[in-house]
């Protein structure tokens, strides 16, 4: 459903974040993108929903080019995204944050008056139930813990009824227990709803439990692409090279 061809992204004409990436993602896959920080994981994910404009190459979403401005809104509507810093609107409550996922489906006038169709509110409540936050609906987002914030982020993505969820380092700011919970929720969504999920991580130890396919990224290039969840020392060496940062975790 996602086809990436010869994708490159250069920042300030000198920093090559991505360097000719080719990748094919099938509907319903749970893929982990692994790589040290600075390998281009975020840039890759942000190119898929057009938050970053590539300097070369192409990205297709179900055959539609992401680079075409006409398609962008539709593609984004069908693409949920979860961020390392959660990116909730802190002064809005949990329900409002989740309803942000429904904005694209509704008119500007009603939503700017904070009016939503009842089905959307019911859907948002259902999404919150799925991530286990039914008791926090009217709490302000900045009153939540990190793990709870990320679950609101997931509920917001779910409320879009997406075909794919992009998770950009979703657990990098969380403690190990919350991290496991978040990845469990993502896995459950992948299984139950057949939503394609693309997670970027720089931990190695989480791989074994979650990955079905591992894509290794190193300095903007794909250096590993394997089905399964086994990484041997050779694989780790290919992805991390002499950067032994994975050992810290």
């Amino acid at each position: 459903m996602i086809t990436i061809k010869e994708l490159s992204k250069t920042f300030n004409r000198s920093v090559h974040a991505l360097n000719g990436v080719n990748l094919e993602i099938e509907q319903g896959e749970f893929t982990i993108i692994l790589g040290p920080s600075g390998a281009g994981k975020s840039t890759l994910l942000r190119c898929i929903n057009g938050l970053e404009r590539p300097t070369g190459g192409e990205v297709f979403f179900n055959g539609l080019s992401v680079l075409d401005a006409k398609n962008l809104r539709f593609i984004r509507q069908k693409t949920g995204m979860i961020f390392q810093q959660f990116n909730l609107v802190k002064r809005l409550n949990v329900l409002q944050n989740v309803l942000c996922g429904r904005l694209a489906y509704n008119g500007v006038l009603t939503t700017c008056l904070k009016l939503f169709p009842r089905e959307d509110v019911d859907l948002a409540l259902h999404c919150l139930e799925r991530v286990g936050l039914s008791d926090k609906i009217y709490n302000r987002a900045d009153q939540l813990s990190g793990g709870q914030m990320q679950r609101v982020g997931i509920a917001r993505a779910l409320a879009q009824r997406p075909d794919i969820i992009l998770a950009d380092e979703p657990v990098a700011s969380l403690d190990p227990r919350s991290a496991d919970q978040i990845l469990d929720v993502l896995l459950e969504i992948n299984r139950a709803d057949n939503i394609t999920i693309l997670v970027s991580l720089h931990f190695v130890h989480l791989i074994k439990r979650y990955a079905k396919r591992i894509v290794g990224l190193h300095e903007g290039k794909i250096v590993l692409d394997k089905i399964g969840n086994d990484l041997d020392d050779g694989d780790i060496n290919i992805i991390y090279g002499d950067k032994k940062e994975y050992e810290i975790y």
């Binding site: 938050l51 809104r73 069908k78 961020f83 990116n87 609107v89 802190k90 904005l103 879009q160």
Partner: protein, 278 residues
Amino acid sequence: MKYIRNKLKWLQKTARIVPVVQNKYDPKSFFKNIGWAVFLLTILWWSAVGTNLSIRTLRGGMYGVLDIVSRMLPPDMASLPRLIGPTLETIQISIWGTILAILLSIPLGLLAARNISPHPVLYQTSRLILNTLRAVPDVIFALIFVAAVGLGPFPGVLGIGISSAGMLGKFLGDAIENIDSGPMDALKATGAKKMQVITYAVAPQILPEFVSLSLFRWEMNFRASTIIGIVGAGGIGFELMTSMRLFKYKEMALILVLILVIVTIVDTISSIIRKRII
């Protein structure tokens, strides 16, 4: 020269007190800062000379200050009933002036924020308009509107509104430029339209700041509306001007007391609203 350089190097190595600067420990920046300090002191000295700054003259003039203050006391309470009307009118001018300023500053401020402005040309135009509004003193605007719509409080409202829109719009634009771009990215990523992103990701982030600034501006506008009364734009300023011209210092003192009372009330109301919002 070489001697001095060597001496400095020796100092850098042996000094027991070393400057710690923000980015990187760099002894050179310490001397750069000294250069800046000298430059600033020169400017201060230059301005002092230009404005005839002199403590001796001030000391000599204390008699004049005491003279005027003594003529102002006690305030002339007998004119109080006559001044109530103009005082209330000044409050009304400040309220509508501020509301007009807010209404004008929102579109200008949105265009004047680099991160959400739809086009660089609109950004520059809006910044230019805001700068112009701030450059022209409010008295001039009031004068223009007195000529346009006649004497009275209405030109006062227009003058206050337009001149304070310049400041509110600039601050709004700056505040938007400083917001956390994360929530904006997140909402853009859901496919939300621009107005929706502004309502849901930008507005909540700048609301507390904008509200407290508008309230502060309201207080400033109250004081400003006393001044613009001088050009015939209504309110208590007109009375203040008249009593000054007629050397009625005791009446003037009463007007100043009235302004003080209102400013205090406005300030109290502002802080109550501010607490509620944040």
